[in-house]
Every structure is written in structure tokens, then in C-alpha cells.
């Protein structure tokens, strides 16, 4: 190792000082996610307001982390919740155990559950991470941006 090698190292440092950083300044700047990104789950309704989920538990059976709990109940003429014979009276997902693989979405024969794009899911307690059916039926409160606001950043898929 000669003195010249040390100066070469300083040269690299100096040149790097002059280049533009590629860091994305989260949370002020966010990149939108790819279309098939697997984020927070969502339970869907038909247009007439009936739930798509019939409580068949195929999602719970498919889940590798065993984090979905489904308790089904018969639809009665007075109290009809879903479009089929039965509905999911209790539907819970433990997001702390979920691995976001999307197998529940693949397994569902009724397209009742999909994984949307929301990924900002931090909570202060473990109990708050157990999503119940009312939470899952609603769209996520924190939606990721639709378009990129990263200045001079790469153009996200689907734009331009």
C-alpha cells in the first residue's frame, strides 16, 4: 500500500460528494407500488351491498401462517349478509402473523378477499394488529400514492 493508493481513495470520496444521491426521502416522497403488490387485505361487497364472502374458510385453510380465523353462520331471510347460503360471522386476520403471500386471495373462489396496496400498517399494540371484519371491509385509512412524487425519480410502471 503506497501513499498514492490513499489519495486514490480520497478521490473516490470526493467524486461521490459531487454526484446526485438516489435516496428517496420517505415519507415526504413515496414511490407507488407495482400493480400486483401484496399489501393490506380487503373484503369486498357486491354492488347490492351483500358481502362476497360466504365463510367457506378456504382462505384460512390456504394460509401458511394460520393467521385467519373464520366462523360461519347461516343466512336467514330476516338477516341476509352474504350472497350465498352462509356468511362469515367472525372474520379475523392477525396481521402480526400474516406473511403477505397472497394465498388467501388465490384460494378464494368468490374474489371476496384481495390484497391491496396499503403497506403502512404500524400499530402500538399487538391487539390492534388483529384486524376484524369491520376493519377489513373498509378500505385502508392510509392509502399509498397513486403517482410518484419523487423529484427526478424513476417513472413508475404504468405512467408516461
Amino acid at each position: 500500500m503506497g501513499r498514492l493508493d490513499a489519495l486514490k481513495g480520497f478521490g473516490v470520496t470526493f467524486r461521490t460528494l459531487l454526484t446526485k444521491p438516489v435516496t428517496i426521502g420517505y415519507p415526504e416522497h413515496k414511490t407507488p407500488v407495482y400493480p400486483r403488490f401484496r399489501g393490506r387485505h380487503r373484503l369486498w361487497l357486491h354492488d347490492d351491498g351483500l358481502e362476497k364472502c360466504v365463510g367457506c374458510s378456504l382462505c384460512a385453510a390456504a394460509c401458511p401462517a394460520d393467521c385467519i380465523r373464520v366462523v360461519a353462520e347461516e343466512n336467514t331471510p330476516e338477516h341476509r349478509v352474504s350472497a350465498g347460503e352462509r356468511y362469515a360471522r367472525i372474520y379475523e386476520i392477525n396481521m402480526a402473523r400474516c406473511i403477505f403471500c397472497g394465498y388467501c386471495e388465490i384460494a378464494c373462489p368468490f374474489d371476496a378477499i384481495t390484497l391491496e396496496h396499503s403497506y403502512e400498517l404500524s400499530e402500538y399494540t399487538r391487539e390492534a394488529l388483529i384486524y376484524t371484519k369491520d376493519v377489513l371491509l373498509e378500505p385502508a385509512p392510509k392509502q399509498p400514492p397513486l403517482h410518484s412524487n419523487v423529484p427526478g425519480g424513476p417513472i413508475p410502471p404504468g405512467e408516461a
Binding site: A65, R69, V71, E92, N94, E127, I130
Partner: protein, 173 residues
């Protein structure tokens, strides 16, 4: 590089106890159960009820084992003592190393805490308690350190179910 190799500590002649065991036996006769040397590492097994005396002898004695590197535990379900604790000691002054071993017992594993001798044992013993359930007498604050405070069971025990804890849901029925 260009430095001379470290001098090895002279090994004891076959049949004699090492310096470490001799020091322990001097202050606490009958404490040393066995000792052996393997791959250049000396291990001294002491009775669990004499661990505190052994600790004091080794720290304050001529070996000056003032540094406790760590307290670890292993679960041997077939052994009568079941939980085998290991105290790894180092001497900053002499460069010496020794492993102190003690069996903490099966059904209700307990042993004296060595925090009064080496304060650094505090969190180490908490971890052993958290993962194995060994209680340390005289520990200033023996509570779980890795797992949630309301956790049931001791995860590193051999009979802890693999993937066994129930996934938590709400209490709705």
C-alpha cells in the same frame, strides 16, 4: 503478520487438578464435581449450591477472573439435572479462560445468582430465565427480557412445541 504467537498457559499434569479447581476447592471443599480440558478449553463443573462460593473464589483469587463473558444454558431432558448452565469467565489481567458448569435441576430449576460477583450477569441470567425458566436467587430484577412479559412458557426448552404458540385472535365467539 509479523507478531509472535501467544504463549499458551501450561497444562496441568495428568491426574492433578488445574489451578482453577484447586482455588475453588480451597474455599469450598467438595464443590468441584469434575473438570476436563478439551481442545485447549478448561471446563470445571461445580455443584449448583456452591456456585456463589466458586464465583467469588475465581474472581477474587489469584486467577483474577474478573470478566464474565456470558451465562448460557442447555436443556438435557434425560439428565437428572436437566438444565446445564455455563459461565464463561475471562481474566483481563492474565488472559486466562475457564468455563464454569453447573446443573440447575429439573422440576424446579434454581440456582444462586452471581450478579453480586459479576454485575454483568444481570441480563444474562434474565435471558436464561426467560428462555429456560431457571430461577436465580438474589437476582435484582428477574423478569423476562426477550419475550413479551405476559408470555407463557419457556421457548428454548426441549419440550416447547415447535411452531406451537397459538395465533392470537380477539375473544369474539
Amino acid at each position: 503478520m509479523g507478531r509472535p504467537a501467544r504463549k499458551r498457559r501450561p497444562e496441568g499434569r495428568a491426574g492433578e487438578l488445574s489451578d482453577v479447581s484447586t482455588q475453588i476447592e480451597a474455599t469450598s471443599p467438595g464443590a468441584v464435581v469434575q473438570e476436563f480440558e478439551d481442545h485447549g478449553e478448561l471446563t470445571v463443573e461445580v455443584r449448583a449450591d456452591r456456585i456463589l462460593e466458586a464465583a467469588r473464589a475465581l474472581k477474587n483469587g489469584p486467577s483474577q477472573f474478573t470478566l464474565l463473558s456470558g451465562v448460557t444454558c442447555a436443556d438435557f431432558p434425560d439428565e437428572p439435572g436437566r438444565f446445564r448452565l455455563a459461565y464463561h469467565l475471562r481474566s483481563v489481567q492474565t488472559g486466562g479462560r475457564v468455563r464454569l458448569r453447573a446443573w440447575a435441576g429439573g422440576l424446579d430449576p434454581q440456582i444462586d445468582s452471581v450478579t453480586s460477583v459479576w454485575p454483568g450477569a444481570d441480563w444474562q441470567e434474565r435471558e436464561v430465565f426467560d428462555q429456560f425458566g431457571v430461577r436465580f436467587h438474589g437476582h435484582p430484577d428477574l423478569c423476562r427480557i426477550l419475550n413479551p412479559l405476559d408470555w407463557d412458557g419457556h421457548p428454548l426448552r426441549r419440550d416447547y412445541p415447535i411452531g406451537g404458540e397459538e395465533v392470537q385472535f380477539t375473544d369474539a365467539v
